[in-house]
């Protein structure tokens, strides 16, 4: 398969400006997804133009800061951002539509915010 994929790490305050650049360059938003890093999260903003894949990556500690919404640039982003807010508990400010943690009907609040314990890590190894 070997699709070339560019992953660019950026600080959170630059996110909206970088998303704006991607939009102006004609990239479409492919997805936004979060991954637990133990003490915080990595959030990936994936874009595509003519089968060229670019991923903007930020790292965030939800207790200390929130993510700016990129829905002013990519309107459809509010769906992904509400998903991240509901599943991971990462606060997102300025979404086009903020469901206030009611986008998903969940029995457990922010179920993906739990990180693996050291015991689980050891068992895996």
């Amino acid at each position: 398969m070997s699709e070339e994929q560019k992953i660019i790490k950026i600080p959170v305050p630059q996110l909206l400006a970088e998303a704006q650049k991607m939009s102006e360059a004609g990239y479409r938003l492919v997805q936004i997804g979060a991954t637990s890093l133990g003490g915080g999260f990595q959030v990936d903003y994936s874009f595509d133009k003519d089968y060229h894949f670019v991923d903007l990556r930020v790292e965030i500690i939800p207790e200390k800061e929130s993510l700016p919404s990129i829905s002013p640039v990519y309107w459809s982003a509010f769906l992904y951002e509400n998903e991240i807010q509901d599943l991971f508990g990462i606060p997102v400010k300025g979404m086009a539509v903020d469901y206030k943690n009611n986008f998903y009907k969940l029995a457990v609040k922010t179920p993906f915010s739990k990180v693996k314990t050291q015991e689980q890590e050891n068992n895996n190894g």
């Binding site: 398969m1 997805q31 991954t35 089968y51 769906l79 539509v97 986008f103």
Partner: protein, 359 residues
């Protein structure tokens, strides 16, 4: 301004057995805004990766959806193989193409039946599903299952298709294509069908792209984009051009899916002609370390798997972005300004798969 009312659609609705909820904000009979809610049956399968061996997890990936089961398993395998730099045998790559296209044919026939049912053309619904059964028979003959194929595995495929069987399948598919043509001609030409679909739910080229639409929903708005062009499996050896339509209405989305059925029959023929003899799998040992965004073309459009591995048998992250999730924004756009009576048909025109979305 007319008086505004809110009409709830779903999560249980006759046109769509799967649960999705929309708050439809109406002025008289016209929808001015639609606000979706999902997550009624969210299964948390992404989280399960932390407790399942990465090779066994193919079984879970295949069960994300009962319509595009094989392609879910394939997308997962492609991601792991990319991370581990596994060279899959060529014969397996072609078999992956054949099963992917059989999935596409049966999915599009399923959709045609559901669409006919939605606008009340019951005999057309039954004929579409009659043909789908025949495709499911082929899938059962080759994979052993009608819904869950169980054929994808990391390093190749689990089953082979003998040359004689493959020739028989090609002969059957060419026969079925003639019958499908008779059915699809009704969708294309019948005045009552055109009355319900032509000019209804127009999604412009600009909106489709900006809103991140994928698959037939995007291509029906005039954008030539199909992840099979990335060349995964054996698609780099297959002659295929994305099928597009210009109008962006419900009729265009129907036409694109119909054309893709015949394109899939052609692709299976090409794959059968080019498929080499040889092994169908390679033994994969060790544990993956690294990350990859695996992208393939499902019947509903681009699916994205993000896989992050840490050098153990348990991945750190398995994230799935399904085509239906990506098409939700486009659905909200094309619902704006439509008549209330057209809402069920319009929801179906993006071919929603809530099962995928609630992975």
């Amino acid at each position: 301004m007319a008086k505004r009312t809110i009409v709830p659609f779903g999560p249980q609705h006759p046109v769509l057995p799967e649960p999705i909820h929309l708050d439809l904000i109406l002025e008289d009979e016209r929808v001015v805004e639609a606000v979706p809610t999902i997550g009624f049956v969210h299964r948390g399968l992404e989280k399960l990766i932390e407790k399942r061996d990465y090779q066994d997890f193919v079984y879970v990936a295949e069960r994300i959806c009962g319509i595009c089961s094989f392609i879910h398993g394939l997308t997962y395998c492609l991601g792991i193989e990319e991370i581990m730099k596994v060279q899959v045998p060529q014969r397996a790559q072609y078999l992956r193409v054949i099963w992917s296209e059989l999935s596409r044919i049966h999915s599009h026939l399923l959709w045609l039946g559901l669409m006919a049912d939605a606008f009340g053309f019951e005999s057309l619904f039954m004929h579409s599903w009659r043909m789908r059964e025949k495709i499911l028979d082929i899938i059962e003959e080759t994979a052993g299952g009608r819904v869950i194929f169980g054929s994808a595995k990391v390093g190749g495929v689990r089953r082979d298709i003998a040359s004689a069987k493959l020739q028989e399948i090609i002969r059957k598919l060419n026969e079925y294509a003639k019958e499908i043509k008779e059915i699809s001609d009704v969708f294309i030409r019948d005045s009552s069908v055109k009355h319900r679909l032509c000019g209804v739910g127009v999604l412009t080229k600009e909106d489709a792209y900006k809103l991140g639409a994928v698959g037939p929903t995007l291509r029906a708005s005039g954008i030539s984009q199909d992840m099979r062009k990335l060349g995964y499996a054996a698609y780099k050896e297959i002659d295929l051009e994305p099928i597009i339509a210009a109008e962006g209405d419900s009729y265009s989305r129907c036409k694109v899916r119909i054309s893709e059925i015949f394109q899939s029959v052609d692709i299976i023929g090409q794959a059968a002609a080019k498929m080499p003899e040889g092994p169908i799998e390679i033994k994969v040992t060790g544990s993956p370390s690294g990350e990859f965004f695996s992208r393939t073309e499902q019947p509903r459009g681009e699916v994205v798997y993000y896989l992050k591995a840490n050098g153990t048998n348990f991945l750190d992250r398995f994230r799935v972005r399904t085509p239906t999730f990506s098409n939700l924004a486009a659905l909200l756009k094309l619902l704006q300004g439509c008549e209330l009576a057209d809402v069920p048909v319009l929801i179906l025109t993006i071919d929603p798969c809530v099962s995928c979305t609630e992975r």
